[in-house]
């Protein structure tokens, strides 16, 4: 059966840790990292990468255009 797998890459230095992507993700993939970037923001990351379907909701709501989204259709049983 075809399954959609997604992944995102966060520009962690551009991210301000606003948390809007975490709230927007329907699959609860994202969290704010306990680590912070050079500006002191706890940047967003995929804490639950397996659930990502590449819907790009996070990227649409990201105010700072930090998120790049990838998606593939795979055939797995």
């Amino acid at each position: 059966m075809a399954k959609v797998k997604g992944a995102i890459v966060v520009n962690t230095e551009r991210c301000k840790g606003c948390n809007l992507c975490v709230v927007a993700c329907p699959a609860k993939v994202l969290s704010l990292s306990p680590d912070s970037n050079l500006k002191g923001y706890n940047f967003s990351y995929m804490s639950n990468a397996d659930s990502c379907v590449g819907c790009a909701a996070c990227a649409y709501v990201c105010p700072d255009a930090c998120i790049t989204v990838y998606k593939v259709k795979t055939n797995t049983d």
């Binding site: 797998k5 990227a59 649409y60 709501v61 105010p63 990838y70 998606k71």
Partner: protein
């Protein structure tokens, strides 16, 4: 399949538009300004008009808008962006000209310029960020501040006897014969972000059709000024701002 297999240019779904440069935006975390900047940049890329677009920045938080969207910009004195845009468009009729203005800029100090520019039906797009507060100067009351809403110059909440009523500029502009498209949108969730992007695109396209002025108000948050988290700001906006400033097209001809 590993993450590295997925993260491959051929699988790309969404990336920052090239019209937006890599300079980090100065806006506070979660700011609606950033979302709208991103949408404008995306529309400019989609319409392929980077070389034909001239932006007019306001005074207010968006005064530095020019730093992030790679087009030619002029920065206006407080409230005067529509006058600059009028002259630019009249002298360069084949260019896409837009103003980007906040509520203080557009609905207080620049009220006359806004109304007369729209009344003349200048073929420009006006993007109006309404967050009910003066963000850059530190959270003072705006003409669009809601009754009861607190600000640094209405610390107990705005009252009508002292400050009058919140001004619905967009409704007013829709009454003018010079406007062709007047709409109110928001960017607090995916559905509304998509609608706002469509509105921005339509406004810019209209500016080449000799139909008159397009006004896109975006009801926005100011989490720093409102003293809330970005997510709470979005919720507060939905519950309080949108009932006072209902979303949707007011005019589309």
């Amino acid at each position: 399949m590993t993450l590295n297999d997925i993260i491959d240019p051929k699988n790309l779904v969404y990336a920052k538009t090239k019209v937006m440069n890599d300079t980090p935006m100065h806006y506070c975390p979660g700011c609606s300004h950033s979302v709208v900047h991103k949408l404008i940049a995306e529309v400019i890329e989609e319409l392929d008009i980077q070389d034909k677009t001239i932006g007019i920045a306001p005074v207010g938080c968006a005064v530095f808008g020019y730093k992030y969207i790679d087009i030619d910009w002029q920065q206006a004195a407080h409230g005067r962006a529509p006058s600059l845009a009028t002259a630019v468009k009249r002298l360069l009729p084949d260019r896409y000209v837009f103003t980007y203005q906040g509520d203080g800029d557009l609905a207080a100090i620049g009220t006359a310029e806004t109304i007369h520019t729209c009344n003349r039906g200048e073929n420009i797009a006006i993007f109006f960020i309404n967050n009910g507060i003066y963000g850059m100067t530190g959270g003072q009351m705006a003409p669009t501040t809601l009754n009861g809403m607190k600000s640094t110059t209405s610390p107990s909440g705005r009252t009508v006897p002292l400050s009058g009523h919140p001004l619905d500029m967009t409704k007013l502009l829709a009454q003018l014969d010079g406007t062709c498209y007047v709409t109110r949108q928001s960017v607090h969730n995916i559905a509304n972000i998509r609608k706002t992007k469509k509105a921005i695109k339509k406004a810019l396209e209209n500016s080449m059709l000799d139909k008159g002025t397009s006004v896109v108000e975006i009801v926005s948050t100011c989490s720093a000024g409102w003293n809330m988290t970005p997510a709470d700001s979005n919720n507060w906006m939905e519950q309080n701002m949108i009932p006072a400033y209902p979303l949707g097209d007011m005019k589309d001809i």
